[in-house]
């Protein structure tokens, strides 16, 4: 049954714009039901701020069921907060206790410039997909879906990696600001499937190199996987590393056949 938490102190990062000087701002939440989600608590705070004539805290959010990947937030030093395998929007106040001080910061990476307050731009993730995160299959002319049987374990493994919601928590959590988990999840999804084989190494080379234009490098801390709302395994990164190395020779060989 629901309980009420009292005396929550929030330390929230406020920043007026991309070039603004940021600072922490302290807000009190005298009472909140533990059934409330974390973002609903921020909604309530925002309504109060507006009624007081102050500007609402800007934060990214949308579906509030952990699938769209819009929400972010560094909560008490953890990307998406203390709950494992969940996005910020799936975090409920029952995870916290009365009297807690909660520190909320935007995600920080050079590739993720702050737009305002807690909102950042994650555009480079799109650039990685644009460079090769697809299977070239123009509309129409696809063969029958059951023409190529795919072993269930392979299909399931592809699905595990395809579950990525593109939230960028891996980048935020990584001490190096690397996007290896994001990139490798997409690569592994497509590279495991028979449909993805033709472009496998072209894809690996293009996506990894685009990734490196924006992000840091993987030093195998494993923080990304722990922060990932979909708990994608860093095994994907090992697969990416192999495919990238192979791409360096295979792509040359393919070109030399022309």
């Amino acid at each position: 049954m629901s309980h009420t938490l009292t005396n929550i102190t929030l330390k929230i990062w406020r920043q007026d714009g991309p070039d603004g000087q940021g600072r922490f701002e302290t807000h009190q939440i005298p009472q909140i039901s533990d059934e409330a989600s974390f973002l609903e608590m921020l909604d309530i705070l925002n309504e109060r701020l507006i009624e007081e004539g102050r500007e609402a805290i800007v934060f990214d959010h949308d579906c509030r069921e952990g699938i769209c990947g819009t929400c972010s937030l560094m909560i008490d030093g953890q990307a998406h907060g203390p709950q494992q395998g969940a996005a910020t929007c799936q975090l409920h106040m029952r995870t916290f206790s009365s009297g807690d001080e909660i520190v909320i910061e935007p995600w920080r990476a050079t590739a993720f410039p702050i737009i305002k307050d807690l909102m950042v731009s994650r555009a480079p993730l799109d650039r990685i997909v644009e460079s090769g995160g697809f299977i070239t299959a123009p509309t129409g002319g696809a063969p029958d879906a059951n023409l190529i049987p795919i072993p269930k374990p392979v299909s399931d493994a592809a699905m595990d990696n395809a579950a990525c919601i593109g939230c960028g928590a891996c980048v935020a959590a990584c001490p190096n600001g690397a996007a290896s988990l994001f990139t490798s999840a997409k690569l592994t999804h497509l590279n495991l499937l028979p449909q993805g084989q033709a472009e496998r190494y072209k894809r690996a080379e293009a996506m990894v190199e685009t990734m490196e234009d924006h992000f840091g490098s993987c030093t195998n801390h494993g923080e990304c996987s722990s922060a990932c709302p979909k708990e994608i395994s860093i095994d994907a990164i090992a697969i990416m590393n192999t495919d990238y190395r192979k791409s360096k020779t295979k792509n040359r060989r393919a070109l030399s056949r022309r």
Partner: protein, 640 residues
Amino acid sequence: MTLNLDSKVPEGPMADKWSSYVADQKLVNPSNKRKFKIIVVGTGLAGASAAASFGELGYEVESFTFHDSPRRAHSIAAQGGINAAKNYQGDGDSIHRLFYDTVKGGDFRSREANVHRLAEVSVDIIDQMVAQGVPFAREYGGLLDNRSFGGAQVSRTFYARGQTGQQLLLGAYQQLSRQIGLGNVKLWNRIEMVDVVNIDGRCAGIVTRDLMTGEVRSHAAHAVVLATGGYGNAFYLSTNAMACNATAAWRAHRRGAGFANPSYTQIHPTCIPQADEFQSKLTLMSESLRNDGRIWVPKDPDETRKAADVPEDERDYYLERIYPSFGNLAPRDVSSRAAKRAVDAGQGVGPLKNGVYLDFADAINRLGVNVIKERYGNLFDMYERITGENPYEMPMRIYPASHYTMGGLWVDYELQTTIPGLFAAGEANFSDHGANRLGASALMQGLSDGYFVLPYTIAPYLSELLNKPIPDETHEAFAAAEEEARDRYQGYLEIGGTKTPDHFHRELGKIIWDYCGMDRSQVGLEKALAEIPALHEEFKKDLRVTGDGASLNQTLEKAARVDDFFELGILMCKDALIREESCGGHFRSEHQTDEGEAMRNDDDFAHVTAWEWSGDPSNPIENREPLVYEVVEFATRSYK
């Protein structure tokens, strides 16, 4: 009646209409395609797939999303699956059966030819998506797996765990990304469309507002496609994402696009009940759960025991009892109303007595925990995360919530609205689902419109414009629309009242849910039609928006969207009021059988109501497109 509601359905037998349309339509020569600029607003299933396909064909495409990335569109949240008449299970499925099921599911209020086309291309969608690498669930033999869904007696639903919408959207997003990477599509992100501009009787472009800078500007094009989703958030509490809104469709309506059947809204039967009054949104649990879950309430309204302790003979498995042949898989509207009746009778469960049980105990006994985990693991986890209860041990609590809107911009067979050059795709149009949508059909319609319909049907319109100059952004109509948009946003900032946009949205939603929700009556609707304009007046006087219009301001964005929901809410109630029958998602308590089932009136209401903007939100102009059935015969929609 001033709108031209010519449906342009091709002649010929039903099964040949689409193929003969494709064969006979005017085409645009490949080298001429790049002379045409198409704007696609929205990057959900319909928008992303349309933009990607246009890009592949060689058109100049500009794609707009108000999200940070095209992948955030709300199609991503669809869980259950996508229908296709593949008959891979050999259980008697066919294009005709899918067509028939959809027409019947829509309670005979959809346009037959559109539905038939949808059923035809459903087959291509699966092929296309598999080729793109969508990891649909498979059998051990490596072939695609299917599950069954509400309103169908065959297994035709393809799925990817409980994340089918996500996987399909990512597929379409990847195709779109490829086109962006290649330079065939220009992507504008964090840009919201705020108006449509018509010049000389055709849609000449759109006006947008940059959410990050507040900049208002115009974009001219040969054709505009709106794939901006539905208006389920008019209810405030719905399963839609927080940002889902009706602004694009509503602004198009205000500029002359007919708005069809706004009262057809779908209430999804399996959502997690509201936990407290400040809840911001409801979460859907996939309807696929009804494959293995059994729905029941205690017979005794004063039951206080835990679910597991209630003996079998004191439980009311009401769906199995009332609808023996479909049982727990009865269509959405039917199951939703049955749940409402149970809760209204005081048999509701949970702390607020606002839900019914969805019990997996039998399925777990029969199949074992592992099978259930395999099928629904992520849904169970999601439920536990939200409610703090473990559904493997105690039954889930569910209750209906607003989920999808069948109504939308009126479109003809070519998906063109009543404004020439303005097309609408996906949930934003009204075309395929009639008065009720079957499960796993929304994904099908979005992809069908974007991949397989629009790329064909936009060509005849464009071919007329070949080598004719179109007005560019310097045209005075654009300047006027921009000025209007700037004034509108500045206006919200200047009201300086006391209440937040969310406050008004909540109040508005409450009115619409109470009077125009699952159960509607003349008295209630008239009440709503008095209350909404009054609340809207208060909104205009007492709204408070803090911050400025030149940097990112979510309060300001919200204010504009809520403003449009007010006018739309009035239209929803108006439409519900004049439709003196019960059909699909529209249930008028005056029109029910003695057993409480919906009672249609085919003599007077077998038509689409397309509303026309008159300038006064409370006095829209009614237009009708009669629905002529060539193949399907009207029948009482019985799932008993």
